[in-house]
């Protein structure tokens, strides 16, 4: 017989009360666990999709572009793209850099024409930044020679196939409507309607020709294994371009190590802007800037989950506080007797807390029993979201959404269940320990 064993038996003394409390804990733990994995899925799948499909880890844009983004301004470009790209590739954490030109395009085939978002891409560079090159379902990816890529659905609607000639119309930077004929090189499919149905990828040179641009792009997309590092490098680089020494063109040794040092080194060792004038201001943005619907949606969902969790656990703690108090009250003579026999105050406290732990163990076990099959289904089989999401929903949920369960989710949920139980028992435990022995035994030993 030991304190743990006594505690266990005390817990089972009142089956009803114990059951109710265990159910409460179990529900809290189950919900916590299920939701943690669901929310992790956002980060693992959706954020990753957003970054690898479109936004990259960070982007560089001309200052003022983002504010004017709805009109797809062609007067706010980043000049000297090729040289700039060389410098960017030397930044710490950056593995890929690719320039793009965003423009309003009208795509025409013999069957008709449709308005789309055109993106001129530096195809070889883009392959190192996004997964577009791996999403080609028919034909082939762009190789730098003139060509266009369309989404599978749009290609079908336009009645074109790889090899067909497509006309692209756009208003150039001078306000003149230009057109260019391009061969459809390949058909892509991200499985994400918002991109598949609205984007047309054109090789960079053709886009520049169509829009009356020189060696300019509207954005440079950066990629690297650690998004924060890429973002930091981008910011440092943008800042260094604004620094007075940037246009000087003096040769300086590259300082390895610090981000700023490397960026400054890269900047200092490069050629000035084409006209020798000060370089136009460039702004760096993290990928979240370009996925606001996704990020805010995930945040709202995650936020509401945390609020519910707090409410649930507050209820659980209150319930256990109540139960434990009652349990202590019912046994007060017994507890005073144990004290009279020589049990110390901390021994009484520990007894109550052990009981609380047993209760928590029951609740946690029950909670996982219920949650495990649900988690397994959500994680392995996933949920068919496509029925609920409109095709142009701006969050790449994909057709089947998978939650992502990690070991720490289970540990955290269990810890919270146990923590809540203990938290609710602290006050009753203290009260039990402080019972005045003689008084509690009530006038008689």
């Amino acid at each position: 017989m030991n304190p743990f064993g006594l505690a266990a038996r005390n817990v089972f003394r009142n089956g009803r009360r114990t059951s109710l409390n265990a159910i409460a804990i179990g529900v809290g733990v189950a919900i916590m666990f299920i939701c943690l994995g669901w929310v992790q899925g956002y980060r693992t799948y959706i954020y990753r999709a957003v970054i690898s499909y479109q936004t990259g880890a960070a982007q560089l844009l001309r200052r003022g572009y983002e504010a004017q983004a709805p009109r797809l301004p062609l007067d706010l470009t980043i000049p000297g793209y090729q040289a700039l790209r060389e410098r960017i590739l030397r930044l710490p954490g950056v593995l890929g850099a690719s320039g793009r030109i965003d423009f309003a395009a009208r795509i025409a085939s013999p069957r008709g024409s449709v308005r789309m978002l055109g993106q001129g891409i530096d195809a070889p560079a883009e392959a190192g930044v996004t997964v577009l090159s791996r999403k080609i379902v028919r034909g082939s990816y762009l190789d730098g020679s003139p060509g266009i890529l369309l989404g599978a659905g749009m290609a079908r609607k336009l009645g074109v196939a790889p090899g067909s000639v497509i006309f692209v119309y756009a208003t150039d930077r001078y306000g003149v409507v230009n057109s260019i004929a391009l061969v459809l090189r390949g058909v892509f499919s991200f499985g994400y309607g918002a991109m598949d149905d609205s984007l047309a990828y054109v090789d960079l040179a053709s886009a520049q020709e169509l829009l009356g641009l020189g060696d300019e792009v509207t954005r440079i997309v950066l990629a690297g294994p650690r998004t924060q590092e890429v973002e930091d490098s981008a910011r440092a680089f943008a800042a260094s371009l604004a620094a007075p020494g940037a246009a000087a063109g003096t040769v300086a040794g590259t300082v390895a190590g610090t981000v700023a040092g490397a960026a400054a080194g890269a900047a200092a060792g490069a050629a000035p802007s084409p006209e020798g004038k000060p370089y136009p201001s460039v702004e760096a943005y993290g990928w979240r800037q370009f996925a606001q619907a996704t990020v805010s949606g995930v945040r709202a969902d995650t936020g509401s989950f945390y609020v519910i969790a707090v409410i649930l656990f507050a209820l659980i703690i209150a319930g256990i506080l109540n139960s434990m108090s009652m349990s202590v009250h019912e046994r007060h003579r017994e507890l005073a007797t144990l004290r009279a026999l020589g049990l110390r105050q901390r021994g009484v406290r520990r007894l109550i807390l052990y009981e609380s732990t047993w209760l928590a163990a029951l609740g946690v076990a029950g909670g996982f029993l219920v949650a495990a099959p649900i988690a397994a289904w959500l994680g392995l089989k996933g949920v068919d979201i496509s029925a609920y999401m409109p095709r142009d929903f701006p969050i790449p949920f994909g057709e089947i959404y998978h939650a992502d369960y990690r070991a720490w989710h289970a540990l955290l949920s269990a810890a919270l269940g146990i923590g809540a139980s203990l938290a609710g028992s602290l006050v009753p435990a203290r009260r039990a320990a402080k019972l005045p022995i003689a008084q509690t035994l009530g006038g008689g030993l």
Binding site: M1, R13, R339, L343, Q345, A438, L441, L445
Partner: protein, 226 residues
């Protein structure tokens, strides 16, 4: 050797807005090996005195010494230690833990004093035999009669071989014959093992068993004190 010494003990209780003086300037010495009963009408302070001697309550003023050392200097943990190793309790309403078996109830003080489990088993058996309940080791308290429960309580009180056993009206909830049996057992333990017994009672038959009687009335010792 003087086991317990009370000097000028005063104990007050608050009852609503009034104060009740349960013990008025009581002085008493208990020697080792005594078999003493504290008697008096109900409300005279017997229980209060036993509570103080057993260190489950503290006097309002006066000094209490156990084995020559002042109890007031012990903190809460010190008192608990004292209760664990030196003092045994037998309660009027037995106060056994209902979820534990008879053997486990007896084992409680041994567990508290960290006696290794291997040593506990034989000791429990020895005690069970002492109180004549060897066959009831696995029973739960609510399966036993009043007398049997009290005997378990006595066995429990003796678990850590205390110097002093305090019993408050130990036979109050037992019928005459059973009560006598209990007292006989206690007396035997006192004579054979030299365990000091102090018990309270208002039953004259029980008083007969005591070698020394201390009479209390209205919180003061009438006779038998020293």
């Amino acid at each position: 050797m003087t086991l317990v010494r009370l000097e000028n003990i005063v104990k007050d209780y608050a009852l609503g807005r009034t104060t009740i003086r349960a013990l008025r300037n009581v002085s008493l010495s208990i020697e080792e090996g005594e078999f003493t009963s504290i008697v008096g009408p109900s409300g005279c302070g017997k229980t209060t005195m036993l509570n103080l001697i057993g260190c489950i309550d503290r006097p309002s003023s006066g000094s209490l010494e156990f084995e020559g050392a002042p109890v007031a200097e012990l903190g809460d943990d010190g008192e608990a230690e004292l209760r664990l190793r030196k003092i045994g309790f037998v309660f009027q309403s037995f106060n056994l833990v209902p979820v534990l078996s008879v053997a486990e109830n007896i084992e409680i003080p041994m567990m508290l004093s960290r006696m290794p489990r291997s040593a506990r088993r034989p000791k429990v058996e020895e005690l069970l035999e002492l109180v004549g309940l060897s066959d009831y080791a696995a029973h739960k308290p609510d399966e036993l009669s009043g007398g049997q429960r009290q005997r378990v309580a006595i066995a429990r009180a003796l678990a850590n071989e205390p110097r002093l056993v305090i019993a408050d009206e130990p036979t109050a909830n037992l019928d005459g014959a059973t009560g006598e049996g209990i007292l006989q057992a206690m007396r035997e333990l006192n004579e054979r093992a030299g365990v000091t017994f102090i018990f309270s009672t208002h039953d004259p038959r029980v008083m007969r068993f005591a070698r020394r009687v201390v009479r209390l009335r209205d919180g003061e010792i009438e006779e038998g004190g020293s």
